[in-house]
Amino acid sequence: MNRPLDRRLGWTWWTRNGSYFRIFLREATSAFILAEVVLFMLLIHKAGQDAETYLAYRDFLWHPLMVVLHLVALAFALWHTVSFFLIAPNALPNQVAGRRIPAAFIIGQQFAGLAAVTLLLFLWVAWVGAT
């Protein structure tokens, strides 16, 4: 008897349809985040060296191609954040202490938290810049 036919999707699964491709891109965003983290850690490292090295590295980060990289990374990070916030209610238990939590409330809380943290960071940077 012939073996049953194997029809698994395999490694090219992400080329199968639009929504798979979007998931693939969503996961690929992590590569850009990683790149930005490495660049940032290098920045801290250079800051500990002499002024010339630091300024040269800062100029490198301002190179037009690097700016494009930063913008792409920012867009991906925002996309990942928003899609994460939107699916978070599904990943949480539907009740807390016997009461149902509306999905809109969970989503709203996350955006509010993000806005608060962003605002605090901006204020802090502005304060450091002013002193």
Binding site: R8, G10, R16, N17, N90, A91, N94
Partner: protein, 248 residues
């Protein structure tokens, strides 16, 4: 006036007859016909050799799942009118071995279901068949959504992880594990955790979410798996921080 028809392109595979092919059938079009009606028309009037599974014709038994134009669907709930003017491509569910035509081998799935002990486990199991385990509506509400599964396996066909990792327990079985773990009458959580926390369990899932998209019963297996992950991580840290409370 000539009768309106629609074309079906049906996946054919006869193990002793070479590789798979597609065969076209012209079937009458009716507004209220579903894909399963068209397949039954083929079987009854055009080609009796076509094999496929079905039973209830009302979205309850879960046996008529197939790929309709590439999407995992219950063929008894998929109207021809939504695919006019056609053609409609009908294939067996992907990710499963095909036995013949539209019939897939579901043994692997049944074994996975079995692993998660999808039934109430009681430590105090008694032979008293009249024993009652009371539950409030709030307790029922915690798991009710996850209990609506009809084992149609559409979520397995939609899941890219299933397509790559043979032993991944998969959406429906993990959702069922969560369904029983959340049930106030159940005491088998510890036994199930061993299965769902292993490598082929919840951590294999990357939250693609397609399983929840295709589920005809809105079970949201992807959500169930993420909830189990959260709970698992929480328990892990709790044990790490309170080693004296460790279970024997």
């Amino acid at each position: 006036m000539s009768e309106t028809t629609i074309q079906l392109e049906v996946f054919r595979y006869r193990p002793d007859n070479g590789g798979p092919t597609f065969q076209s059938y012209e079937v009458p079009y009716h507004d209220d016909w579903v894909v399963l009606d068209a397949l039954n028309y083929v079987k009854n009037y055009i080609d009796g050799s076509l094999s496929f599974r079905w039973s209830c014709r009302m979205g309850v038994c879960g046996s008529c799942g197939m790929q309709v134009n590439g999407e995992p669907s219950l063929t008894c709930a998929e109207f021809l009118r939504d695919h006019m003017p056609g053609p409609i491509r009908v294939e067996p569910l992907v990710n499963f071995p095909v036995e013949r035509d539209l019939v897939v081998d579901i043994n692997g799935f049944m074994e996975k279901l079995d692993h998660v002990k999808p039934y109430l486990v009681r430590e105090d199991e008694s032979d008293d068949l009249s024993a009652e385990y009371m539950q409030t509506p709030t307790q029922l509400d915690r798991y009710k959504q996850f209990s609506m599964c009809i084992n149609c396996m559409l979520c397995y066909a939609a899941c890219p992880v299933i397509g790559r990792v043979d032993d991944f327990i998969g959406p429906a079985a993990l959702a069922l594990a969560q369904r029983y773990n959340l049930d106030s009458r159940d005491q088998g959580k510890q036994m199930r955790q061993d299965v769902i926390f292993q490598n082929e369990g919840i951590w294999e899932c990357t939250f693609v979410g397609e399983c929840s998209e295709v589920c005809p019963k809105h079970v949201d297996p992807a959500g169930a798996i993420q909830q189990a992950k959260l709970e698992g991580a929480f328990d892990y840290y709790k044990r790490l921080l309170t080693p004296w409370a460790r279970r024997s």
